[in-house]
């Protein structure tokens, strides 16, 4: 070959670069999960059925049904805003979740999850789920994460005992 060594290395380097870019692009498109709110999910409707999605919402306590024999868990979540800034404006996560649960006009989403019932699943918890939406608008979660803002430990002790009274 008459190519200079420098040329060979340039070509080799470009090939590796191309390979890495290909891996990143193809893996991103193959496994990207849209992070949606309940409103956004309802707006998209069936166009996103059977795609991998991440959805978050406020758990409605009285809707939780759990069958320990089949480990099937069913509950309903209500829309909460997705923007951190908006949540802060509306008084923090705990307040936003509380409002979502008591407001009957919010959009709702039924969720089915097969697995043991997590301790943190309770009224006004924030559920973050990964899974797919079926044709009937029911969300089948593969993964279920829960956040209870009220449980976050305070850095400052509550004023209790003799000093407070």
């Amino acid at each position: 070959m008459s190519q200079s060594p420098k040329m060979k290395f340039m070509v080799g380097g470009l090939l590796i670069l191309a390979a890495v870019i290909y891996l990143i692009v193809s893996s991103t498109t193959a496994s990207a999960q849209y992070f949606l709110t309940v409103d956004e999910l309802k707006a998209k409707g069936n166009s996103i059925a059977n795609r991998d999605l991440r959805v978050s919402g406020a758990v409605l306590g009285e809707t939780i049904e759990y069958d320990p024999n089949t480990l099937t868990l069913k509950f309903v979540i209500a829309h909460v805003p997705g923007e951190t800034a908006q949540i802060d404006d509306e008084g923090g996560l705990a307040e936003v979740l509380h409002q979502a649960v008591i407001d009957p006009s919010r959009q709702k989403l039924t969720v089915i999850y097969v697995g043991a019932k997590p301790d943190l699943l309770r009224n006004e918890a924030q559920a973050i789920m990964t899974g797919k939406l079926d044709e009937n608008g029911v969300f089948h979660a593969d993964e279920l994460l829960l956040k209870c803002p009220t449980r976050y430990e305070e850095a400052v002790p509550e004023q209790s005992g003799p000093a407070g009274n």
Binding site: L23, N69, L71, T84, Q159
Partner: protein, 706 residues
């Protein structure tokens, strides 16, 4: 007050390190060695100062002084003494102090050496170390950041509200008040962190993080002074290796802790905190390899500088991210005052370092040219590109949600499948290179010379791979979607393992013939004579073992979820699992223990009893402890999931079958051995301490006088 004393010491340490920076600058530019010496001594003074502050904090932790807000946050009366002491790095303020303390220890150790040959480096090593230290102590000291580990609680006499302040505010009294002191209890450390793995995992990671600052300091010194030969690399080679060992151990221990405590059957979840600790490891590993090219061939000098600068930036970034702790969300960063400070510091040091590099760009040109695609240096370069490729994948995964939101307004995230898919081929490439690269020669190699060393191990590899496929077809239940990738993975792993073993064998046999020694003595002496090479090979073998474990659990893990009633038996992955009994009782530290007893059988033979547990701590925090039967072939991993009161006869279990995962832990032991071989001091007079060399001089003089 001890807390105020500790804070005072921190302030003094902060001022000392700031002085050290100033004195080193002044001494350097005014050419006054006395000032440089003063800067060095000032920097060394921070070590006893920070040790004193640390002892003070440990005393407060040990004596349950809940007036100190940090002690309140991380300890409680029911914690045993060793946990109260290790809670030092259980919270943010304390771990920042831990970081500074390690930094001062390392900076002191490195400046105790003899500097005769490298005097011009000294002021810059002092400056880089002291600037880093001043930043971390500064975070503790400046009340604005609210990270003072010695801040105390004060109750306002006006409205009764309690807050932590460094200085007593007006109209307040110390909290808890004297009548409360005896009973007032702290928050306590999260039970998930009360585990031996969690006690040594953070210090290991920190040791790795902090010790990488030393090679960075020398790199900057080399850039500023224009001594752009490989001197800085030779001085810091062992530092870098040890730093790398600690960082690696920190990562492995974190994985082991997750496997034992988090109860999800895995060891690595690709979450941002893990990736933050992994990224400096990637650049550090690339750096370890590419500096060898600079030593041997005088090439890639720019590249090495870029790698160590990146590593330093990623270490500071990693400290920031990992410090948020396992349980906080990304959201928590925004509320912390130290975020902007960290990003500012990373930005300033990064821009300064890169500017220095550009300034010296012309002086760092290569002394040789790369002309063979199969030469050792070309393959090392390829190894570096693969490591950087993995780094880019990781970085992309972390920032992708931000990017997509910026451009499309839609938040899109990527999870573990993204990382596995994108990094898998790159890791496989690295494993293959690990086998082939050591066979190639510096300067020039051809397919022919490589082939001669390769063909024997390659034939064994092909036979082993065929055996593996044949085994899989006779046990069809192991064949899943990942199977083709698993074949490629096992092929790469087997090839590298056999090549490396063959190298050991060939060299040792040649020596044993030539020296007429026993084969094993030859092997031992060979490794002793060329520790870097054989230490490196040992590390490669260790990585291969770890890769076997990773392929096993990633590609062949099976799991099931099942509710079992007492006495019920199920079949799973060749095991018979019987839910035999269930106990629920209160343990001495007030946690409520739920313990299931499972009998495990295989082919009708009783193997063992496993006892998965679900403990609930008084504050309601649950902890899942898996029951694991671990062998070199597979782990049977049973979790009692979220068991709720009142259904002792019907309990939900999650059962995992994790093939080969033990090889991952086994490999990490060999990894330590290999790194120690590579880093073991040899009898190179330059690396001996100054006083030993000093003693040798008179002997030499007396013989020459004869």
């Amino acid at each position: 007050m001890l807390a105020d004393f500790g804070y005072g010491i921190l302030v003094v340490a902060f001022l000392t390190s700031v002085y050290s920076v100033g004195a080193a600058f002044y001494g350097h530019f005014e050419k006054k060695q006395k000032w440089v010496e003063s800067a060095r001594l000032a920097m060394q003074l921070t070590f006893p100062l920070l040790s004193l502050a640390a002892l003070d904090l440990l005393y407060l932790l040990a004596t349950n002084d809940f007036n100190v807000s940090f002690v309140y946050e991380v300890t409680s009366r029911d914690m045993p003494l060793y946990l109260r002491l290790t809670a030092w790095w259980g919270g943010q303020a304390g771990s920042l102090l831990f970081w500074s303390w390690l930094m001062s220890a390392f900076a002191t150790a490195v400046t105790l050496r003899n500097w005769d040959r490298d005097r011009e480096f000294l002021p810059w090593v002092v400056i880089v170390s002291s600037v880093t230290m001043a930043f971390f102590i500064g975070l503790n000291v400046m009340p604005f950041f609210e990270e003072n580990p010695f801040a105390r609680f004060w109750a306002s006499t006006l409205d009764g509200s309690v807050n932590a302040y460094t200085f007593q505010p007006a109209n307040s009294v110390a909290f808890p008040t004297p009548d409360m002191v005896a009973t007032f209890d702290g928050n306590g450390l999260n039970p998930l962190l009360r585990h031996p793995g969690m006690i040594i995992h953070p210090p290991m990671l920190y040791l790795g993080f902090v010790s990488f600052v030393i090679p960075f300091a020398f790199a900057i010194a080399a850039l500023v002074t224009g001594r752009t030969d490989d001197r800085w690399i030779r001085i810091t080679r062992r530092w870098t290796l040890i730093a790398w060992l600690f960082l690696s151990l920190g990562l492995v221990l974190g994985g082991r802790w997750a496997y034992d405590v988090l109860g999800w059957g895995g060891y690595w979840g690709w979450d941002p905190v893990e990736i933050a600790a992994f990224m400096p490891w990637l650049t550090g590993t690339a750096f370890l390899h590419s500096v060898m090219i600079q030593e041997k061939r005088g090439m890639l000098k720019h590249w090495n500088m870029i790698l160590i600068i990146l590593t330093y930036a990623l270490i500071i970034f990693g400290t920031f991210l990992t410090r948020s702790g396992v349980l906080s969300s990304v959201h928590a960063f925004a509320q912390s005052n130290i975020g902007p400070a960290f990003f500012g510091f990373i930005g300033i040091t990064f821009v300064t370092s890169i500017s220095l590099l550009i300034w010296r760009w012309a002086d760092l040109s290569s002394e040789a040219q790369m002309d063979s695609m199969l030469s050792r240096e070309a393959l090392f370069l390829l190894n570096n590109l693969l490591f950087i490729g993995i780094l880019v994948v990781c970085f992309w995964g972390v920032i992708f949600p931000l990017i997509s939101e910026l451009f499309t307004g839609q938040k899109v995230t990527v999870g573990p499948p993204f990382y596995e898919r994108a990094t898998g081929p790159l890791f496989a490439g690295l494993v293959i290179l690990m086998g082939i690269a050591p066979l190639s020669a510096w300067g020039h190699s051809t397919i022919k010379t490589l082939g001669r060393a390769l063909w024997k191990p390659l034939i064994v590899t092909i036979l082993v791979t065929i055996a593996f496929v044949a085994f899989a077809f006779t046990n069809r239940e192991v064949i899943n979607d990942y199977f083709p990738y698993a074949i490629i993975g096992f092929f790469a792993v087997a090839m590298t393992a056999f090549i490396t073993l063959y190298e050991f064998w060939r060299a040792a046999r040649a020596r044993s013939r030539a020296q007429k020694e026993n084969f094993f003595i030859s092997l031992w002496r060979l490794a002793g004579r060329n520790r870097r090479r054989y230490g490196g090979y040992t590390i490669h073998l260790a990585v291969v073992l770890m890769a076997i474990g990773i392929i096993g659990i990633e590609m062949f893990q099976t799991e099931t979820q099942v509710s079992m009633s007492r006495g019920q038996k199920i079949e799973f992955s060749g095991y018979t699992i019987e839910f035999k009994d269930f106990y629920s009782f209160k343990y001495e530290d007030n946690r409520w223990v739920n313990r299931a007893e499972m009998n495990i059988y295989r082919d009708g033979q009783f193997l063992t009893m496993l006892a998965p547990r679900y403990d609930v701590y008084p504050d309601g925090q649950p902890m899942t402890i898996a029951g694991v039967r671990s062998t070199m072939i597979d782990d049977l991993y049973i979790i009692l999931v979220n068991w709720e009161q009142g259904s002792a006869d019907l309990a939900p279990f999650k059962i995992y079958h994790n093939p080969l995962v033990n090889w991952l832990w086994l490999g990490s032991y060999l990894f330590i051995v290999g790194t120690l071989i590579a880093a073991w001091p040899d009898k190179d007079p330059e690396s001996l301490p100054a006083r030993v060399r000093g003693k040798q001089t008179p002997v030499y003089q007396s013989t020459s006088a004869d």
